[in-house]
Subunit: 167 residues, 2 copies
C-alpha cells in the first residue's frame, strides 16, 4: 500500500550515520555568532577522484546560510559511544574561544570551520555546488580537502541511537 | 597524517547500504539492451516534503546515460540475507521478459524501471537535477514518486558484506 507509513518504513531502511557538522561565516568576528555545529545525517560520498561528498542542509536553518556564504564546512564523525556528545548539539550551541557546547574545538587548518578533536575523525570540505529545488534540505556538493583519522571507532548510527531522521 | 590511507579510513566510517538500482531507456524496445540493474551504495535522502533523495551514478557507466535519457530509476532495498542476490548484479546482467540475472522483475507502475519483488522494498524515482562537475559519479537528485514495503527486513550494508565502496 502506498501510504505515508509504508514510505517511512522503506526510507528508514537506508542506514545513516550521525555527524557533527561544523560551519562558519565568511568573516569570523564573534565566535558565538559566526561559528556553529549541528547534528547531521544525510551524507554520502559521490566521488573517489577527487574525493567529494553530498550533504543535506535544512533550508530553513541558519547554518545553510553560513555554508553558502563561506563555502566551507567540516564533518566530524561520531563514534558509537558518543550519543551523549551528539545530543549536546541538538539545541542552540554556546560558543567560546575554546569550546562549543562545552566541548573543545579548533578551527580547521584548511577551512577555518569547527573541528572537534574529541571525535574519532573529521573531514574539511569546500563547496562546489548547491541545489535548491523543491527539496526541503539543500543538496550541497563538496570536495574533501583535508581530513584526520585520530582513532579507530565504530560510527554512531541511527540504528544504535533509536533516533530517526528519514522517511 | 593526511595521506590516502587515512582518508580512506575516515570516509569508510560513513555507513552505506546496498541497493539494486533499476534503470531504463526512454523507449524500451529490446529489454536486453534497454533495461538494466546495477548495485549501488551512494544514496541519501535530501527532503521530507516532497520525499527526495540523491544517488551517485558512475559517470563512465551506461546506466547513467539511461537515467539521463529516461529521467527515472528505481531503488530496490536489499535485505541483510541477500548478499548473494546483490553479487549477481556485479557483472553484465542478462535480461529476459521476466527475469534479470535469473531474478524475477516487473516494470514499476509509475516509471517503467525495473522492480525486483524478491527484495523487501523499493522506491520509484523521477530525476529533477543532475550535477556533473569534477566528481567521478554524477549527483542525481530525484523525487520519490512511488514505493512498496513488502516485508520487514534489516538492510544489507557494507559492514555486513565486507565490501567497501568508499574512500
Amino acid at each position: 500500500m502506498m501510504d505515508e507509513a509504508s514510505r517511512k518504513k522503506v526510507l528508514r531502511m537506508v542506514p545513516y550515520g550521525l555527524y557533527l557538522v561544523g560551519v562558519r561565516r565568511r568573516e569570523v568576528k564573534d565566535v558565538a555568532k559566526d561559528l556553529n555545529v549541528f547534528v547531521g545525517s544525510w551524507l554520502t560520498q559521490v566521488s573517489f577522484k577527487p574525493p567529494m561528498l553530498v550533504a543535506g542542509f535544512r533550508r530553513d536553518a541558519h547554518s545553510l546560510e553560513m555554508v553558502k556564504e563561506s563555502g566551507v564546512f567540516t564533518v566530524n564523525v561520531l563514534g558509537s559511544d558518543q550519543k551523549d556528545l551528539a545530543a549536546r548539539f541538538f539545541k542552540d550551541v554556546p560558543v567560546t574561544d575554546k569550546e562549543m557546547a562545552g566541548v573543545p574545538y579548533v578551527r580547521g587548518a584548511h577551512t577555518g570551520a569547527p573541528v572537534l578533536p574529541d571525535t574519532p575523525a573529521h573531514v574539511e570540505c569546500e563547496v562546489v555546488h548547491v541545489y535548491e529545488g523543491e527539496n526541503d534540505h539543500a543538496v550541497v556538493v563538496a570536495k574533501v580537502v583535508a581530513w584526520e583519522h585520530r582513532r579507530e571507532a565504530k560510527p554512531l548510527t541511527h540504528a544504535e541511537t533509536g533516533w530517526h531522521y528519514a522517511g
